[in-house]
Amino acid sequence: MTLNRRDFIGTAVAASAALSAPMVRAQGAPRVVVVGGGAGGATAARYIAKDSAGAVNVTLIEPTRSYYTCFFSNLYLGGFKQMDELGHSYGGLAANGVNVVHDWATGVDRDAKTVALAGGAAVPYDKLILSPGIDFVDDAVAGWDLSAQNAMPHAYKAGSQTELLKAQLAAMPEGGVFAMVAPPNPYRCPPGPYERVSMIAHHLKNTNPTAKIIVADPKGKFSKMALFQEGWNNHYAGMIDWIGADFGGDVVEVDPAAMTVSIDGEVTKVDVCNVIPAMKAGMIAHAAGVTDGNWAPVNAADMSSKADPDIYVLGDASQQGDMPKSGFSANSQAKVCANAVRGALTGSRVFPARFSNTCWSLIDTNDGVKVGATYKATEEKIAKVDGFISATGESADLRKATYEESEGWYAGIVADMFGAKA
């Protein structure tokens, strides 16, 4: 029997009717305020507005007009993407019922239940979702602070910093030295620094093949380490010197004025230096008083703060357990949170939390690898259920298919965050 799925037309269901329902704001509708329009915040705002169809008033507070995704920004450094491909506006969210406010959230009054904006307004909420991403820990790398970010960019919040780093790489003298100071755990995008090394090596191999790459790393091992090291040997032999904690990679000082990096006391003159400092939750999480140390502890079942049941923290800023800090994770957590928040405010059905993550990395042209897992909520934390990782020695065809899958994922997640492009 031969059957083609295209021979059959699916039954129309209530879900599509709900999606096209007019957005009517009821007076006195419960108010959700979301701070931060990245993978966590944009997704949460979009899902609550979409699924409540006007029954919940959703405000998103995000200072930037165009959001540049940190994910895939390494591919821009490698020459595989243009910066404008990474930029996304909030027009799709506004058109789908989210009140988008471009301002900085500067404080939270948890008693009055209001968010203070830099512009002077106070925005009231019934439920507050914080998804501010990361900030850098002060004095994490000796000699570096934010005033040095032009001489030694972090490029770990995408946009102008990423463009600056790319311009510096393009201007590197022949046979020059690029240094990266890698961050300690936990940090945004565990494979990110090593994909970046790969992409910079790809760029230099084509434009400046006698250039050298030095990585000072406070860790002894890193995400997808065997896959990256195999790829570096295959594609960029002799170009990359990774210095882990066992060899002094954790004893680093930089001098942005002199453009030198000291690793375990050995001073090297460099041409370009990418300093990725230790990270902490974005400022508003600390201002709201929901952090414990660098991060904001949450309950795994709904991403609610352990400090305040009406505040939720998503993505990189949260301390949730086993999930890596990634855009995929934030997007996954946002959908669990959105279901729980909408249920709490409107009585809609709330389903058990379930999370997943996949991180793709590009090592060289058509050489993609991935790692991923599923997760569940326990009383204690978000706990890993099951996972997978690409194997060393995979065929070129499989690696190419993995890269193409990552392209599809990028299109998928930005559509899931911001709505499908018109």
Binding site: M1, G10, S332, S356, T374, D386, F388, E405, A415
Partner: protein
């Protein structure tokens, strides 16, 4: 093999047979072609539950039906959606992401997802 009708009805709380347009005999024959047991394929799905579970899919698969490197899963016939997911769960269909996602989906979850995505039209 003939089963009593009452047994089959107990497996079909949402009237999947009628909605999907397959007779029990069709489903048994198709299941046999794919080396799967027929009963889970006869389950009807809870669309609201499917809409929630779909959050795990829509990070990659676009609900608009657009294709950019990840297969389109909107507007699939529900039976063949269930077959694909059961094959991933049984690891007889390749792709580690899908095998890992499917590994923890029960028959009810697969039926719910199938019902939800069958109702989403492609662009």
């Amino acid at each position: 093999m003939i089963r009593p009708l009452a047994f089959c009805l107990a497996l079909v709380p949402f009237g999947a047979l009628a909605d999907d347009g397959y007779s029990e005999e069709d489903i048994r024959e198709i299941a046999s072609d794919y080396g799967l047991s027929a009963e889970p394929l006869m389950l009807g799905g809870d669309v609201d539950y499917g809409a929630y579970l779909a959050g795990e899919c829509t990070t990659c698969h676009q609900t608009s039906g657009a294709y950019d490197g990840i297969p389109v899963i909107t507007g699939w016939d529900a039976l063949f959606f269930k077959i694909a997911m059961h094959e991933y769960r049984a690891k007889s269909r390749e792709n580690p992401v899908m095998q890992t996602v499917a590994a923890r989906l029960g028959d009810e979850e697969i039926a719910a997802l199938a019902a939800y995505f069958a109702g989403l039209e492609d662009d």
